[in-house]
């Protein structure tokens, strides 16, 4: 069995009947991204192919931040839920982000 981490996901590659099952740990249990994969592949080949497959299936992207349901603005009975401005990934219009500074 081989394990690897990609995109915050913990993968587990296991041999089964001459092919490979690619598991993912999700909430303490194992789900499967794929089963019966790469028949006849060696362990090293299967790992390379599994990593390529994981990159395709689970692309790295932008994670949405908020809404900040704990601090709604209220107008009468109406609750207006804004983004979580305290979150470190929140990007302000008038402030340069650390990861993406303004080009000069």
């Amino acid at each position: 069995m081989t394990t690897f981490i990609y995109n915050d996901l913990h993968f587990k590659l296991e041999a089964r009947d001459g092919s490979w099952d690619l598991g993912i740990e999700r909430s303490g249990t194992t789900a499967y991204a794929g089963v019966g994969l790469f028949p006849g592949a060696s362990s090293a080949e299967a790992e390379t192919k599994a990593k390529a497959l994981a990159r395709t299936i689970f692309p790295v992207g932008v994670k949405c931040v908020g809404p900040d349901v704990a601090h709604p603005n209220t107008i009468g009975d109406l609750k207006i839920v804004g983004p979580d401005v305290a979150h470190p990934n929140f990007i302000y219009w008038n402030k340069d982000s650390v990861s993406c500074p303004r080009e000069r």
Binding site: D17, S19, D21, R26, A31, Y32, A33, G34, V35, G36, L37, K49, A52, L53, T56, I57, P59
Partner: protein, 264 residues
């Protein structure tokens, strides 16, 4: 085309008709890609296929996204090296009449919202287009024999309360004729297209509805019961294996009629 050893991709493969199609094809030896919005459903279906000793991958994706479509096609090719069958089952309903009148004034009180219209067109028509287009591209570029299966509906005939859904499904039903005509023009001979138009089917959406209303619906079905998703899967399997079936839309309704007995 042989099902055993072929590679099938099914959008909406996490429940209902899509799940039945995925499992039916996997049972017959196809390698299957389960594409769905709901990760929980994908995990369950892939696990079931594992337990039956089949080969499958699960890909969470939104069929209305061009990037997601490219991703699930590439994921299928990365996993299984080819693509032969693409079934576009992903679909939604957002029912409502175009106009609703105020009972007292007789004036229009409410209109069918653009959000309800657009969501259904995006998923049921644009989603089908993107899946079928990109699957066809992979099949043609790979030189693999293929079958494209848009899922239409018997409500392509026109169903009140479903202007959005019926409009999308009649367009889906037209796809095989246009696509195969274009393939003939372009010399593409090894990829076929057959749409399936199911009637009222025993999916969670229908079995969970008001049972009295369901009973009324079934009064107009000659068969006297809902279609089983497995019966639709069986028809798709038949279309895969019989290459004379092409450029058409096949209805599977159990004999759905309008009230007073004219077949719909």
């Amino acid at each position: 085309m042989e099902i055993k050893g072929s590679v099938a991709l099914v959008t909406g493969g996490g429940n209902g008709i899509g799940e039945a199609v995925v499992k039916h094809l996997a049972k017959q030896g196809a390698k299957v890609a389960v594409v769905d919005m709901a990760q929980k459903n994908i995990d369950r279906v892939v696990k079931d296929i594992k337990d039956m000793g089949g080969e499958a991958i699960g890909i969470q994706a939104n069929v209305t996204s061009e990037a997601d479509t490219a991703r699930f096609i590439k994921g299928t090719l990365d996993a299984f090296g080819q693509l032969n069958i693409a079934v576009s089952c992903a679909g939604i309903i957002r029912d409502g009449t175009m106009l609703n009148l105020d009972k007292e004034t007789g004036k229009v009180a409410r209109k069918l919202g653009l959000d309800k219209w657009q969501a259904v067109i995006d998923t049921n028509l644009t989603g089908t287009f993107l899946t079928i287009r990109d699957a066809a591209e992979a099949m043609v570029n790979g030189g693999w024999p293929g079958l494209l299966v848009p899922i239409s509906s018997v409500n392509k005939a026109g169903q009140v309360g479903q202007l959005n859904y019926s409009s999308a499904k009649v367009a889906d039903a037209l796809m095989p004729k246009i696509i195969i005509g274009e393939f003939l023009m372009r010399g593409i001979r090894n990829v076929r297209c057959v749409a399936i138009a199911p009637g009222y089917t025993a999916t969670p959406m229908l079995t969970g509805m008001n049972q009295e209303a369901l009973k009324t619906i079934l009064e107009d079905v000659h068969l006297g019961r809902l279609i089983a998703p497995e019966e639709i899967a069986d028809l798709i399997s038949h279309a895969v294996q019989n290459e004379a079936i092409n450029a058409t839309t096949i209805e599977i309704t159990g004999g759905l009629c309008y009230p007073n007995g004219i077949a719909k």
